[in-house]
């Protein structure tokens, strides 16, 4: 269990954007994971996807690591940003753009605006 926590910590610290999800970004296996990975893909954010269904110790370990009971979970530069509800809210409010800009993560602003225009 300690090893799992270390492994998660290394993953989170060594990648700018990490999404712990059910399935992969190419083939999400849960509606909530699909939604968040879809947002990131559409916005052209380069992120590392960790499929928690592929490793039971990560699946349980990430909940402990983040003190957060559900998946997906998004990390940007080592900081936990939130799950599906928070990411959705932040995308629509523009807070996600601000966060990505502050953290120097490249993304497609036009695509983000298009998401907002379609969902307002």
């Amino acid at each position: 269990m300690e090893n799992t926590q270390q492994e998660i910590n290394e993953t989170v610290k060594s990648n700018n954007v990490v999404l712990f999800m059910k399935g992969t970004k190419a083939a999400p296996q849960c509606g909530f994971s699909n939604k968040v990975s879809g947002i990131l893909n559409y916005m052209g954010v380069d992120f590392k996807d960790i499929n928690v269904l592929g490793d039971e110790s990560i699946r349980e370990g990430i909940k402990i690591y983040s003190d957060w009971p559900t998946v997906p979970q998004l990390y940007v530069n080592g900081e936990f940003v939130g799950g599906c509800d928070i990411i959705t809210e932040m995308t629509l409010s523009g807070e996600l753009d601000t966060l990505l800009e502050d953290q120097k993560i490249p993304y497609d602003k036009e695509a983000a605006d298009k998401i907002r225009a379609t969902n307002s």
């Binding site: 909940k63 003190d67 957060w68 940003v81 939130g82 799950g83 599906c84 509800d85």
Partner: protein, 80 residues
């Protein structure tokens, strides 16, 4: 194992007695709910901190693959 909306509300209210809590059964299957919780104690906390507090009030009902609640769409708000 499904859970009733009023059980969820009761658990949240135990931690947030003055909160306004609205539970919606999204799929009608007793397993996918949306909860909106409005409480003064959220003031000064970010969304992650607010939602962590609500999850904590559910006392492990969402834990693991045997969790009674598969999905709870959470919205936390501060009263106007």
């Amino acid at each position: 194992m499904a859970m009733q909306a009023k059980e969820i509300e009761k658990l949240i209210k135990e931690t947030f007695p003055k909160a306004k809590v609205t539970i919606t059964d999204l799929a009608g299957d007793g397993n996918h709910y949306a909860a909106e919780v409005t409480d003064e104690s959220f003031r000064g906390k970010n969304r992650v901190q607010q939602q962590r507090a609500v999850y904590a009030s559910l006392k492990g009902k969402m834990d693991g693959s045997n969790g009674e609640l598969h999905a709870l769409a959470l919205t936390t708000k501060i009263p106007n």
